[in-house]
Symmetry: C2
Subunit: 106 residues, 2 copies
Amino acid sequence: MFLRDVASQAVFSPEKMGKVTLASGASLMAGLNCFEPGQEHKPHAHAGQDKLYLIMEGTGEATVGSETQVLVAGDAAFASADVPHGMRNTGAGRLIVMVILAPPPH
Amino acid sequence: MFLRDVASQAVFSPEKMGKVTLASGASLMAGLNCFEPGQEHKPHAHAGQDKLYLIMEGTGEATVGSETQVLVAGDAAFASADVPHGMRNTGAGRLIVMVILAPPPH
C-alpha cells in the first residue's frame, strides 16, 4: 500500500493526543501521534515492543529512558522494548510524530 | 537513543544503493537506503518481514506487489511480509528513504 503525504493524515483532539493508524502488518504497526501545543504522551513502556519516533512536523520534547531531548522535524528517537519513553509538544504549533511499533499492539 | 537529522546520516556509493543502520532492537530495525540518480533496489520479498518505506528526500518510484507509484518526501509505502517491493531513484537528485523492517534481519 502507498501512503501519500503521511503528515496530512494527522487528526487532532482538544482533549488529548490524537492517534492515527497508517499501516499494520503481522510484525509492525505504523501510525501518527498528533499533539496540540502543550499536549503530551506521558512516559510509559511497552513490554516486549520496540518503538521508533520520527518527528514529521513541529517541535517535541522526547524522553527515552532517563534522557530528555528537544527534537524537530527529521529527528528520531528509538526506545527498545521495556524502555520508558514519552513525548510532549513544547512548540508553539502542532506536533506530528510518526510512530512505529514492533510487534504491533493487539 | 536519539537520532538527529536522520537524513544527514545517508551514505552513498557510486556502485550501488547505500545502506545505513540507524537503530536496531529485538523486534525492529530502522535504517536508510540511499540512491544516487538512476540507482535502484530491485523488487524482492522478505519472508515473514513487514517493511515500511518513508521518503525523506528526493523522488522515488516504489513498487509494492503489482503496483508502482512515484513517491516524494513525506510519502510512504508499506509491504506486508512476503509482498515483493522495490525502489528506484527516478529524480534528478539523490533519494534518501527511511526503511523499517520487522522483525529485523539476522
